[in-house]
Symmetry: C2
Subunit: 206 residues, 2 copies
């Protein structure tokens, strides 16, 4: 692309650095901002700058927060002995939306991935093991994505905490609610048979 | 979506104001910026702010430029009597990439669209008509999108300039190079038959 303006080119290149945004999309977004009143650009850039500079991670669960201890960790009605291990803040939001979980979280900040160069030391694993060592936890629930990286991370953490003799569980893998059986992949279908649940407990959650 | 942080929520909402970006994509982009060094956010916000505040539109053709007269209008080797009318800067870039056009441009800044509330007065039409009145122009080439809005805009401008007796043309509509005939829509195919060109002139451009 040959740009008629250096300022335009810089802006497009910076926006195109974002994941999943190519040069054409970046161009469309930048031209949109040019057509809008300049207040919109000010609001956008200020919100991003403020967020990047001032955001805090909860000292307890490493979730994104406005305070040093997040609202979930600060809530006395929640069960602080059950810890759900998740990848990032989006997973906390997804689980909170179900309104089914009353424990607290531990946000790892990613998954172990040799391909992307993410090693265990870059994740919040040490602080999780410490929590277990200090006997503050009775159950750990793994809620990572069901991928190679997710399974590797689960196993890595499990090896470090199994000596402490606490309950370690993982969220159920099975057929999604509303899915037709014939379209399910065989691994998922196989696991859902292997880990079948008593019918009476299945109708309780409906 | 329930956010764990007001700063995060603000940033996501502002990014989601951009066209074609939903809340989930905005969340992904914002979390990406949080994982990157803060320099990336600084570079992005500064590039956008600088562009929005300092960008100039060429006084002659209304194209985005770093100077009051853009490089194309300032180029003495180009034919200033041929004016190609386009919607926005992306069309200028697309035509420049063909390296087939040696005239200058006139950027309207949009198309007449009652549905989107864009009236002729919001576009750079007056200055185009003035150029024609001042007899600076020998040919006008319409290169707007082949849509209802594009055709309306062409016709609106044509009515205002036809009295001045200059050449007015529009870019050819026809089968795209490399396209199979059987998949072409009938309007395009019909027009390409109606506006057929001498075979000898068609092989010249190959």
């Amino acid at each position: 692309m040959e740009f008629s303006s250096k300022l335009l080119e810089n802006a497009v290149n910076e926006v195109a650095m974002l994941p999943g945004i190519g040069k054409r999309t970046a161009m469309r977004l930048v031209l949109h901002l040019l057509k809008q009143p300049s207040e919109q650009t000010i609001l956008l850039t200020e919100a991003l700058t403020k967020m990047r500079n001032e955001i805090i991670y909860c000292q307890n669960c490493h979730n994104i927060s406005d305070h040093t201890i997040c609202e979930i960790c600060n809530n006395p009605t929640r069960d602080h002995s059950i810890v759900c291990v998740v990848e990032d803040v989006r997973d906390v939001m997804a689980i909170e939306n179900t309104r089914m979980y009353k424990g607290i979280y531990h946000v790892l900040g990613g998954k172990i991935s040799p391909i992307e160069g993410i090693s265990p030391s870059q994740l919040n694993i040490t602080s999780l093991v410490e929590k277990v060592q200090e006997q503050k936890v009775s159950e750990i629930i793994f809620a990572l994505s069901s991928t190679m990286e997710g399974d590797t991370t689960n196993f890595y953490i499990f090896k470090q905490i199994k000596a402490f003799n606490i309950n370690v569980s993982t969220i159920a893998r099975g057929i999604s609610v509303g899915d037709e059986l014939e379209y399910a992949d065989e691994v998922t279908l196989g696991r859902s048979l292997l880990h079948r649940i008593p019918f009476e407990s299945s109708i309780k959650s409906m």
